[in-house]
């Protein structure tokens, strides 16, 4: 019976069990759920154990957008259940595939319904309207569901309008394996009660009753008490019977194993510039002067989990591919919001987005990648944004705000009308520090002032146009900021790429040696040899195609690596950088 029961929808909670920012401990057939409602209304039904060490997530913290595990502070996103932050490793973006097991959730008849592997929809119950119902108090019973249903077939109660009258006449309107509908009539009064029996375990159940009409005022309490008393008497009887019978073995839930790559410390996934996701442009609007906002929703299913600082590749109708940072705050997982600035010298990317792409269009995008991860172990974080460089920093600022961590967002723009996404900036309050209409000299002075206060465990994130970024990095270095505390992301690589050299690349783990001739990149040579390697901007700015150098001297031409990373000679961006030595050995 219970095997089949796995394919059915069962109520696991009342909607009133999910008040603001609560996490409810639900149970079905031996399996525990952490059930929580995010501030956007979405009901999450998750396996009740953190993937890290198995601690119940029902003792975790619902911050309205994410669920935080009590044990190590791992954060899981609303809707996708993907892990967005691992505090023990603040400099790393967690592997996207660390995703908790989710179960479907439907709210109906004042109850939350779920199932292990549902077939079909939540059942329609004849006679139960959606709007005018009275949900009874849930009655837990230490007895198998089948026994409880048998007892309910002989259950008696009064119509809500005639609680004190002689016994109402009861008719069984419908009876199934896990539910029964009873009608009570007396005089002109009648009430339909539907009792759903939730199989909690092989020997435990919960009776969830729903009446076909709500009752207002003092009468409501009287009706609830009436049913409470009748059902409690039924419970006593069912429990006495169950205690006399041999107890069935408890159901052992099967926990899904994590993927093999997560069992060991995760490596980078290998894929090329793929656009696996299809999204609809659900909204396009002027997010500021010269900047269009795009809201992208999945054509089907869920969007993958993103982390603040992540970007997506957008494959445009004209064949161009561009990278845009996700501006979303934590838990906003039903859509990606990006901002696109119209570039005067656009080669077709931003022009296409501004002029061709419209609401309702379908776009191909890549999964989010994060090469600009946000640490959350700083005593204070400074963000310095120039123009459209606001987009990744906006996602970061919203994440820190949500965790009540100290930060300031310094936003350099020419005019107030150029400040993008005012709806997202406004809630940041005083942490937002706009710097408007400054000349390059004034910008330098402002940077010197705001970067003068470096203390240990502070971190700085910069994103903006090249010259401003260079200036900010220089000022930070001059004011004593260690390089490890300064994080930056360039929009694009404006260096002239010199691809005249030719050299050999040995791929240590793949046991392959390749020739890279002049005019071809390491990435292209690898792809031709059938070696898949992730990439995104392919101009040395985003960090996706990073490889580890085991031997040889790299010829760095990117803008992603920091100076010390370049000098260490252990990392290379394979899309633009080359070799000074005749041979390069990479850990691929």
């Amino acid at each position: 019976m219970l095997e089949e029961a796995r394919n059915r929808w069962h109520p696991i909670a009342s909607t009133s069990d999910l008040p603001h920012r609560h996490v409810f401990h639900g149970q079905l057939m031996g399996r525990e759920f952490a059930v929580w409602r995010a501030d956007d209304g979405f009901v999450n039904v998750w396996e009740n154990r953190c993937l890290h060490r198995g601690v119940r997530l029902s003792i975790g913290i619902n911050d309205g957008r994410e669920l935080k595990c009590q044990y190590h502070g791992w954060r899981y996103a609303n809707r996708t259940a993907g892990c967005t932050y691992i505090p023990a490793h603040p400099a790393d973006a967690p592997a996207r595939t660390i995703t908790n097991r989710t179960f479907p959730a439907v709210e109906r008849y004042g109850l939350v319904w779920s199932a292990e592997e549902p077939i079909g929809e939540v059942p329609d119950i004849a006679g139960l309207a959606e709007c005018d119902l009275l949900v009874l108090r849930a009655i837990p019973v230490n007895a198998p569901a089948g026994r409880v249903i048998e007892r309910l077939k002989a259950h008696r109660f009064q119509p809500s309008g005639k609680l004190d009258a002689a016994d109402g006449e009861i008719s069984v309107e419908a009876a199934q394996e896990f539910s029964i509908a009873l009608r009570s009539r007396y005089g002109g009064s009648e009430t339909l009660a539907v009792f759903f029996v939730q199989p909690v375990d092989s020997n435990r159940s919960v009776i969830r009753g729903v009446l076909d009409h709500g009752v207002q005022g003092a009468g409501r309490i009287a009706v609830l008490r009436h049913h409470n008393e009748r059902l409690s008497a039924l419970r006593d009887l069912a429990e006495r019977e169950a205690a006399a019978a041999p107890a069935p073995a408890p159901i052992e839930p099967v926990y899904e194993r994590v993927s093999p790559e997560l069992a060991e410390l995760p490596e980078l996934t290998t894929h090329g510039r793929k656009a696996a996701l299809r999204v609809t442009v659900s909204k396009k609007w002027p997010a500021a002067d010269g900047i269009a906002g795009f809201e992208l929703r999945p054509v089907k299913g869920l969007l993958p989990t993103f982390h603040p600082g992540a970007h997506i590749d957008v494959h445009m109708p004209n064949g161009e591919i561009r990278q845009y940072s996700i501006t979303n705050g934590p838990g906003e997982t039903d859509r990606f919001v990006i901002g696109v600035k119209l570039e005067r010298d656009s080669k077709g990317g931003s022009k296409c987005m501004h002029e061709t792409v419209r609401e309702g269009d379908v776009l191909a995008i890549s999964e989010p990648r994060n090469n600009f991860p946000l640490r959350r172990d700083a005593v204070k974080t400074l963000f310095v944004a120039g123009g459209i460089g606001i987009t990744p920093l906006l996602a970061m600022a919203q994440a820190l705000k949500n965790q009540n961590l100290a930060y300031e967002l310094h936003y350099f723009a020419q005019t107030e009308a150029q400040l993008a996404f005012p709806d997202r900036l406004e809630p940041l309050g005083n942490a937002l520090k706009p710097h408007l209409g400054l000349s390059p000299e004034q910008t330098g002075a402002a940077l010197r002032e705001l970067l003068s206060s470096y203390k240990r465990d502070m971190h700085l994130y910069i994103c903006g146009p090249g010259p401003m970024l260079e200036a900010a990095r220089a000022v930070a270095a001059e004011q004593g900021w260690p390089e490890t505390a300064v994080h930056f992301e360039y929009f694009k690589n404006t260096n002239m790429i010199d691809d005249s050299s030719s050299f050999q690349v040995a791929l240590a783990r793949s046991c392959v040696t390749l020739k890279v001739p002049a005019g071809k990149t390491i990435l292209e040579a690898m792809r031709e040899a059938g070696i898949d390697m992730p990439s995104s901007c392919e101009q040395g700015a985003c960090g996706t195609c990073l490889a580890t150098v085991i031997e040889g001297e790299p010829d760095h031409q990117d803008v992603y690596l920091s100076r010390s990373e370049r000098e260490s000679g252990t990392k290379i961006m394979t899309c633009v950088s080359r070799a000074k030595s005749a041979r390069l050995v990479l850990d691929i």
């Binding site: 525990e32 009740n48 154990r49 993937l51 890290h52 060490r53 198995g54 601690v55 119940r56 003792i59 009590q70 044990y71 190590h72 502070g73 691992i86 505090p87 023990a88 490793h89 603040p90 400099a91 660390i98 052992e252 926990y255 194993r257 994590v258 993927s259 093999p260 997560l262 069992a263 060991e264 410390l265 959350r376 172990d377 700083a378 005593v379 961590l405 465990d457």
Partner: protein, 288 residues
């Protein structure tokens, strides 16, 4: 999956386990406890002699007193109780931290003891504090004595010990000595070149229940014994509710049962070490 009530791991049956804190044993009244699923009755005579018998067969069980604890071995003792050199140093308090029953496998309790990542979240304001959450890489090895040893562990702690006056980066060494015995060594806030030692003797009551008996060897400098003891109890009381919410209660040895991160390197070694030594009691074996 039915829970084995009796242990068949020879390495555990033929080893010594703490079954009581000697100072807490009632005089003239038998004290009941359970070890590896076997109910035991302990009686202490006025002259100090101790007798432990199995409740099922009435047979006498090997017992001995050391470090202030009462130890029992259900089988044939194959090796002596471990030696703690710091217990011989006269300038240390040698106290028990109290015997704390926890409804979880003792192996989970050992793993929690090895874990720095939870300090800011579970021991907030004492052993850790957000946003100082990073676990920097440390070294792990299996020693010649067949112990799991983690060295170069460092963590920022606001109040690392009762004598700490301000936050400091604390150095830790962890050592798993036997499957249910683990020790930590941490820098003393006053004598920076010396280490305070806590050895945790975990009594496997059954597969899903344990009693943790911490044994503290703390430098006396600036501290009394009662303070050491109450600090340990404060910390352990913070761990207990989390441990009791681990699902499943037994420690899974399948590497794909849970998701380790770099900070968990010592647990990865510990689980592998248990697997290689065929310890199954309190564990969910890898092939299950």
């Amino acid at each position: 999956m039915p829970m084995a009530t009796h242990c068949s791991d020879r390495v555990l049956l033929n080893d010594w386990h703490v079954v009581a804190d000697g100072s807490a044993l009632p005089a003239n009244v038998p004290f009941s406890t359970c070890l590896l699923g076997v109910d035991l009755s302990i009686s202490a005579r006025n002259d100090g002699a101790i007798r432990i018998v199995r409740a099922d067969t009435g047979a006498r069980v090997n017992s001995v007193q050391r470090y202030g604890f009462l130890w029992a071995c259900l089988g044939k003792p194959e090796r002596d109780i471990l030696y703690i050199p710091e217990a011989d140093e006269p300038d240390r308090h040698l106290v028990s931290g109290g015997s704390i029953a926890v409804k979880v496998s003792g192996l989970r309790a050992v793993e929690n003891f090895l874990d720095m990542g939870h300090f800011p979240f579970i021991h907030t304001g004492w052993l850790g504090e957000e946003p100082h959450t990073e676990v920097v890489p440390y070294k792990v090895e299996i020693t010649n004595q067949d112990e799991v040893l983690a060295t170069e562990c460092k963590f920022y702690q606001p109040i690392a010990s009762p004598t700490a006056r301000k936050g400091m980066i604390v150095d830790y060494i962890y050592k798993v000595i036997r499957p249910y015995t683990v020790a930590l060594y941490k820098s003393n806030p006053l004598q920076k070149d010396r280490l305070d030692v806590i050895t945790l003797f975990v009594q496997p009551v059954d597969e899903e229940n344990c009693v943790a008996h911490p044994y503290l060897c703390y430098l006396k400098d600036g501290m009394d014994a009662a303070t050491v003891r109450s600090f340990m109890q404060l910390i352990f009381a913070q761990d207990k509710p989390i441990l009791e919410n681990q699902v499943p209660k037994r420690l899974p040895l399948d590497p794909r049962a849970e998701t380790p991160i770099r900070a968990d390197a010592v647990s990865v070694y510990y689980r592998r070490w248990l697997r290689d030594r065929a310890v199954t009691y309190g564990a969910i074996p890898a092939h299950a």
